[in-house]
Structures are given as structure tokens and as C-alpha cells.
Symmetry: C2
Subunit: 344 residues, 2 copies
DNA sequence: TTGAAAGCGCTAACAC
DNA sequence: GTGTTAGCGCTTTCAA
């Protein structure tokens, strides 16, 4: 293996000078620099990052650790968007991204700690899940670098990038009301999915109802874990109990797909239920271009989390203020209830 | 930071003994071992992997490098299944997985080389793309560890895990023929997508046609790059040229989605075209449960590639024989042409 | 079964 | 602008 000394020898300089060229090349005379670069080229020299990492106490790697089982994670489009956002930022910033989805949810938190304590990574991005508040405490006391994709404990003020879903559901509900709908279902996220649930989706929904002077009917709201199956199941039940339903808002796109499948299986016509999708994913726009949708800034969330962890690592900061992104709403389906009935 | 010496001191042994406990613990007296373990626990000692890696010349990391742009990669369900398969195997085998999707396709190959030469990873899993044959040569001459997800040059006999799509398309075509279809379209993969295209899909298709004594009509075959857009576009053209079409086979599920969307936009009824999906992905089964499908062992491919690179790394082998997996076919839609026409 | 010493390849301090 | 020295935290001889 060719080392920095081989290069130094060939270029007739010291190892340190080669190191300078590799890192802080402005401190080297141009002529020397050229000689070194030639030697590097000639020997096809590649610095051993393990040695540099050991010396610098810096691995230039970021971990992305998710506690939900790989069959869910790699198939959940929102999670992949977050991962993509993180990947794009982090790799542009010169870090490698380690993706870890431990088999058992419980292990994920330990895995995150291990990766960090081992110096495998300079910092981790973590998904909220049960028990994460304890882990965060340990990260804090040990002064380890982390960022969470959501709020993990009641008073968390720093090191998170979360999404506030209030605006999206508020606007969606308001929009449906403006079209004349007054029996509006909500396929909400399950409060058990994250440790500290903000109940933001529900808040936006009830706010809009209240403004319109319409009673909030709790049984119009069902909960699920973002999956196709939950969307299918919960909508089926919801509709059986409320056949007078004319519109539904979904917490996620996979749930939206499940809902749509359920309407087909129940023999409903596309116009019978006005559906608002949950995430505005590219695939959803392609499959169901007419659907209005709440937008979910998953990519931006991952990107911001990457940016945050990189800045924490690079600037040696332990804590930075948390960031809250917002959902929005895009109207595509403009049928009013009256038009819809006429259409049939 | 607590080091192996702190542990050694507390346990009243040498650093080497601690190292033995950490790695080859059977060579240590049980009593000593316990003392060491206690000390480790007490000090919350975590071995510095950078130091170990440097000494062992082994990083225990595997790279997964894809040359197609992160917006495609993280949204392509097949690629994610491959990634998931690799992740699951590799992490169970005690390796970390580095995922790298360089911004420019051209960079990906250099990135793979860099990661490996830098000792960032012990080996990489690579996607075929233009120019990869040159890169492979360099991997080989430099004795670096790699596995490719497909065949990269004409005579490649080792270090690949590929999928032969002949069986799936053969069976799908045969099945459609048995239902009475004789104008069968094929939305094939584009020959430009990979460097060395096996043309397996087309082969299965033409084989079945030949057996049935039906003429192969080249204009019934269109090509696309696995995307929704290509499925939409190519099917639209295909159908305009061949309105007598009664069935289509797709090279991928995203193309299948595009095709289905196109049929809707053209005002076709679901029964007008008998569609065979390309991958049998879970989402496709959920969205369109009636579709027959070619199966694509993406997860297994990623898994096997993980297994192969791990064995290459662990056993110090440079080359291992390539593996060929096969597509299959699952019939779900059993309408024959006659029934279909009656149904209308 | 255990320990002492050397060194993996790099970079930070500190010279010059 | 450049070189010398020391040492990051482990593991690997080799000896005891």
C-alpha cells in the first residue's frame, strides 16, 4: 500500500507537506504543491481515511438510524424522502452516510448510541420512538451529536427538525367546507406512533370546523400508522358508520392509497367521496392527478436535519435551536358538493 | 475519552488482555474475563473503531453506490428493495452500510473507487452503468473488493448477482396466449439503461410467441427506462398504433402504473387491456390486486450481493462465481379474451 | 494465560 | 514555507 511517506519521498518533501497539500494546500508553495500532486498522481495515492480519522478524532460519517423494521422503512415513501434529503445534504458536505435499520425496534436506540460512542459516526439522525427520551438524555450527558426527526420529549427545544401538520389539515378542511362538504372524515395518524404526538392534524381539522360553526364529531376521526392497510381498514369502518360522508382527509399517502382501494372494493364511484391525500408525493400525483393534497416536506425535513447535524459536528456545538417546518395544501379537485351530485 | 488502557488499569490486566476479551475471548481465563467485563461496564467503555480499523486494515463497512441520481434512486421501489436486501444481510453480518448516490452519474464510479481505495469501505456493491467495465478492471488490477448488481461486461463470470428476466416474460406471454390474446404488447426495458443488456425480457416474449406460431411484430415492443413517464408515453404510442391490442406486459411496476394511468386518460375500460405488471411489488399488489405479474427478486438480489461481498471480504477472496436469479410469473387475472368481450 | 513493545498512517505542535 | 517529533487507540508479534 502506498502511504504518505512514499509520496513524500518521491516529491522530495516531508510527510507533513504532503498532508498540507491534501488538506490546507494554501499554506504550500505552488511549486512544491505541483510536485506533490504529481507524485500523488503517479503513485495513485489515496490517503487512508482510517488513519486520518483516528488522528483527527473525526470519522466524517453521519448515521441515519430508524427504529421501525426494514420492511417498513425502505418501503415507506416519506421515510425514503427524508433519507434522500439527508443523503443529499450530508454527502454534498463531504460526509458519508451510514444507514442503519436494526432488526428490532428496541435495538435501534442502542445502535445509535453504539455507532456514536464507537466513533463510527460523528453524529446521528434519529427517529422518535418509545424510549428515545432516555437515549437523548444519554446523548446529552455524554456530549454526543444528534438530531431528531421530530420532538422526542415534552420540553425539547433543540436538535430537532419537526413538521407541524396543523396548517395543512386546517387548509384542507377549510377548502372542503368551502366546497359545501360538512361530513368530513379524517384518517389521522395514530398517537402511539411517536412518543410525543402533537395532535396537530386534528387541531387543524377542528379549528377549521369550529370557524365554520360545524360540530366536531369524534367518530369521524380514525387513526392509523400511515400504512396502506390502516387506510383501507379505517376508511372501511368509517364509511360503514357514516354513509353520509362526502369527504375524507388522509394523514399519509399510503393511507390514501388504502382508502382509494377501499372505495373501489365497496363499489363507490370516484365522485362519491372527495379525497384529500396526505403527502403530495410524486407517485401520488402521477397515480391520482386529480387529488388535492396536503403537502409534507419530507425531503426538506431530511435535508434540514442533515444540515443541522453537519453544523453541529463542524462547529463543535452541542445544541442548536430546533426547526419546525409546515405542511401546506394544494387544491386540485375543485368539484363542489352540488356539482358532484349533478355530475352523477 | 476512556481508552483500552483505562479499562486495563481498572481490571489490573494489560491492554492486550482487554483486547482479547473484546475479540477472541476464549483465550482468556474466565475470572480475568469477568474482571475486564466489569471494568468495561463501569467505565462505559466503547472501543474506538477507527483505531481498530487502522490497525486491522479493515473498516467493517460496505458501500452501496448507485449512479442514477438520488431523485430516481430513492424513489424507485426496486432499487429500494435491493438496498433493503443488502442492508439486511450486511448489517446482520456485522458491517455498516454506506449509501452513496453521487450527484452526477459519472462521479459514481470514481466515488466507488475512492471509497474503496481510501479504506472507507472494505468493499462496494455497484450498479452497472456506462463506463463501469473500465472501473471494474481497475478494481481487479488493484485487487479491490466489489460486487455488481448485474453483468457489466461481455465476459464477466464472477462477482455479480444478476436477474435473468427470460422466465418471467416467457411465462407471462404464454399465459396471455393461453387466454386467447394474440396482439400482445411489451413495454420492454431500454437497452441503453445498462451497458450490457441481455435482452432477456424480449427473448422470453419472442420464445413464447414462436412456440405458439404467432408472428413477432417488432412494433408491438416499446422501450423505456423503468419509469412511470416512460410507461405512460410508450403505451400511449403503442396503443395509438395498435388499437387492436388486447394485452401488455410491462418491464417494471412504475411503468405499469404509467400504463394504467394512460389507459384511464385515453378513456379505456379496465377490461379493454389485460395488463401484466413487471415486478410484483407489495404496493402494486395492494393498488391493483387483480393484476397478474412477473416477479422480480429485487430483495433477494440485494441480499445475495450483500452475502457475496461479505464473503469476499471475510475470506479474502478476490473472485467468486456470479449468481443468476430468475423472474417468475404469478397469474391473478384469469379473464380470457372471449370472456372479456362478453363482459363488456 | 498474559504482557511488553512496536507500529498501523496520518496530523498537531512546535520548531526552524 | 517546510520539517521533526510525538502520539491518536488499537492489535500484533514475540516472549514469558
Amino acid at each position: 500500500m502506498t502511504t504518505i511517506y512514499d509520496v513524500a519521498k518521491l516529491a522530495r518533501v516531508s510527510a507533513k507537506t504532503v498532508s498540507r497539500v491534501l488538506n490546507e494546500s494554501h499554506l504550500v508553495a505552488e511549486e512544491t504543491r505541483q510536485r506533490v500532486l504529481e507524485a500523488i498522481e503517479k503513485l495513485d495515492y489515496h490517503p487512508n481515511v482510517m488513519a486520518a480519522s483516528l488522528k483527527r478524532n473525526r470519522s466524517n460519517m453521519i448515521g441515519f438510524v430508524v427504529p421501525y423494521g426494514s420492511d417498513f422503512v425502505f418501503q415507506d415513501p416519506n421515510m425514503m424522502e427524508q433519507l434522500r434529503g439527508t443523503h443529499d445534504y450530508v454527502s454534498a458536505a463531504g460526509f458519508e452516510l451510514i444507514v442503519s435499520v436494526p432488526r428490532h425496534k428496541k435495538d435501534a436506540l442502542q445502535e445509535a448510541l453504539r455507532l456514536t460512542k464507537n466513533r463510527n459516526v460523528d453524529g446521528v439522525i434519529l427517529y422518535p420512538s418509545y424510549g428515545i427520551d432516555q437515549i437523548i438524555k444519554e446523548f446529552q450527558t455524554k456530549n454526543l451529536r444528534y438530531v431528531t426527526l421530530g420532538i422526542c420529549y415534552e420540553q425539547q427545544k433543540s436538535n430537532f427538525v419537526e413538521v407541524d401538520q396543523t396548517p395543512g389539515s386546517y387548509l384542507a378542511t377549510k377548502y372542503l367546507l368551502s366546497l359545501g362538504h360538512c361530513r368530513i372524515g379524517l384518517l389521522n395518524k395514530s398517537p402511539s406512533f411517536f412518543m410525543y404526538n402533537r395532535d396537530d392534524l386534528l387541531r387543524g381539522y377542528t379549528m377549521a370546523l369550529k370557524e365554520a360553526g360545524i360540530d366536531y364529531v369524534p367518530s369521524l376521526v380514525r387513526e392509523g400508522d400511515f400504512t396502506f392497510e390502516d387506510g383501507y381498514e379505517q376508511f372501511t369502518r368509517l364509511y360503514k358508520e357514516h354513509p353520509d360522508l362526502t369527504a375524507v382527509i388522509c394523514a399519509s399517502d399510503p393511507m390514501t392509497y388504502g382508502l382509494i382501494r377501499a372505495t373501489v372494493d365497496m363499489g363507490l364511484e370516484p365522485d362519491d367521496i372527495h379525497v384529500v391525500a396526505g403527502d403530495n408525493l410524486p407517485l401520488t400525483q402521477k397515480l391520482f392527478p386529480h387529488l388535492s393534497s396536503i403537502t409534507n416536506p419530507s425531503y426538506a425535513q431530511g435535508w434540514e436535519a442533515g444540515k443541522m447535524i453537519v453544523s453541529i459536528v463542524n462547529e463543535g456545538r452541542g445544541e442548536v435551536p430546533g426547526i419546525t417546518l409546515s405542511t401546506e395544501f394544494i387544491a386540485r379537485d375543485t368539484r363542489s358538493v352540488v356539482n358532484s351530485k349533478e355530475g352523477n
